[in-house]
């Protein structure tokens, strides 16, 4: 029904982007740890407390939600694939059914044509039998 490779490519690109985002997140958090040795005054603590710690949590949650979105999309792909396979098979069967019904109808038409000829022949045979019967009576069956 459809080519799933385009979607798989999109999914793969998103997985890659998420991986890169997580890498970048780790890099940022690593850097934050690094500069604590250089800048650790009250202002730094305050900025961490008010913004950057929460920023790290939200970013992590965002990435986790993206990962969950991807996991659901992977699940959806499995179902799409199964639906596609089942639907394609059903479509193929429908085509086979159509072909079989056409063949069956053709056989039925042939059968009916032969049946009508049989009926006509049967009538003719019975007419000949009746005529022969009448002739035998005329001739006198037992002289």
């Amino acid at each position: 029904m459809e080519d799933s490779s385009w979607y798989l490519k999109q999914r793969s690109d998103l997985q890659e982007a998420l991986w890169y985002l997580q890498q970048q997140s780790r890099h940022l958090q690593d850097y934050r740890l690094d500069i604590r040795g250089i800048w650790a005054d009250d202002a730094a603590t305050e900025i961490d407390r008010r913004y950057l710690n929460i920023h790290a949590q939200d970013s992590s949650e965002s990435a986790r939600s993206l990962a969950s979105q991807l996991a659901s999309i992977v699940d959806a792909d499995v179902e799409f694939d199964l639906a596609n396979r089942a639907g394609m098979k059903a479509t193929q069967l429908s085509q086979q059914i159509d072909r079989l019904l056409r063949l069956a109808r053709a056989e039925m038409n042939r059968s009916l044509a032969e049946y009508y000829i049989h009926q006509e022949r049967d009538l003719a045979a019975n007419a000949a039998i009746a005529e022969a019967e009448s002739l035998i009576s005329q001739a006198g069956e037992y002289p």
Partner: protein, 326 residues
């Protein structure tokens, strides 16, 4: 307590801001990409749902159509089976009438031979009777002549009174007896001829009747042969019709099995499509969550940047002041 170099701290803050901005840009891009993917999967789910509904509808229609064809072909098989039985019966009837017509023909042929023999015998008898009558007529004629001659002799004798005519008298008597005997024989011969003629007439009538009946029996045989021939053809047609009906039935049954399988697969297609759509819905929920956290992180990054800029500006001012003092 550690000592911090303002210039080093300022550079670090610059770098931190850059890293935060870089992360924000990447997370925004990723979020947009996720939204785009989600949109495409949403469209995909809707399209697959529509398609699966079409697949199911087609499978259900196929099932109905297959059922109708099976019903029709079942009726046709019954009809053709009955036709074969009827054709067998017609053939048996035609063979029976053929047997009877041939028997009738044979009997009339035998009867005709007998009648012809009778006619031949009657003709021979008539000829014989006619010959006997001619012979009797000759004898009567001769007896009459002999009587006439004896009577003449008697008259001649009686004209001479001196003669003894008793001999002539006796001769006339004898001649009269002979004539009477000849006349009786003639009457019998004529009766025989009449009887022979009557018998011949009867024989000829019988021959004519036999010929007529035989001719009719000949036609009956011809028609009954035709009846058998037509009945054989009729049976062949009926059997062919049944054979074709069975072939149609086999295909219809095969179609029925496939229709059952196709309907199950179509239902599975719908179930899987719905499950896929549900998974896409779940993905959508996760995406909303992700966007919510991402937006929050983005806002925090903006606010952090403002504070970091302020802090950096203070450090730069402090550094400038220190340089001026030194």
């Amino acid at each position: 307590m550690p000592t911090y170099d303002p210039r080093v701290i300022s550079r670090s803050i610059d770098t931190l801001e850059s890293e935060i901005q870089r992360f924000t840009d990447i997370s925004s891009e990723t979020s947009q990409q996720a939204g785009y993917v989600q949109l495409n999967y949403r469209e995909r789910a809707e399209r697959v749902l529509r398609w699966s509904a079409i697949v199911l509808d087609r499978a259900l229609n196929d099932t109905l159509e297959v059922r109708a064809v099976n019903d029709e072909v079942d009726r046709l098989v019954i009809q053709c089976s009955e036709a074969v039985e009827i054709a067998h019966q017609t053939l048996a009837n035609s063979e029976h009438i053929r047997t009877r017509s041939i028997a009738t023909q044979d009997r009339w042929r035998v009867e005709l031979q007998a009648a012809l023999a009778w006619e031949a015998r009657a003709e021979a008898e008539l000829s014989s009777a006619k010959a006997a009558r001619e012979k009797a007529e000759s004898q009567v004629s001769r007896a009459m002549h002999a009587l006439s001659k004896a009577e003449s002799a008697l008259y001649s004798c009686q004209s001479d009174s001196k003669r003894n005519c008793s001999g002539h008298q006796a001769a006339v008597g004898a001649a009269r007896n002979n004539l009477a005997t000849a006349q009786i024989a003639l009457q019998q011969a004529e009766a025989r001829v009449r009887a022979a003629e009557a018998d011949l007439a009867l024989a000829r009538a019988r021959v004519a009747q036999c010929r007529k009946s035989l001719a009719i029996a000949d036609v009956a045989v011809t028609r009954s042969h035709q009846a058998v021939s037509i009945a054989i053809d009729s049976l062949a047609r009926a059997e062919s019709s049944l054979s074709d009906a069975h072939a149609a039935q086999r295909k219809a049954i095969e179609a029925q099995y496939k229709a059952i399988e196709a309907e199950e697969l179509a239902k599975e297609t719908v179930t899987r499509s719905r499950q896929a759509a549900a998974n896409v819905d779940t993905a959508q929920t996760h995406l909303y969550q992700s966007i919510k956290f991402n937006d929050s992180a983005h806002n925090l990054a903006i606010r952090a940047k403002l504070d970091l800029d302020y802090r950096n500006e203070q450090l730069r001012n402090f550094n400038r002041l220190s340089s001026d003092i030194s």
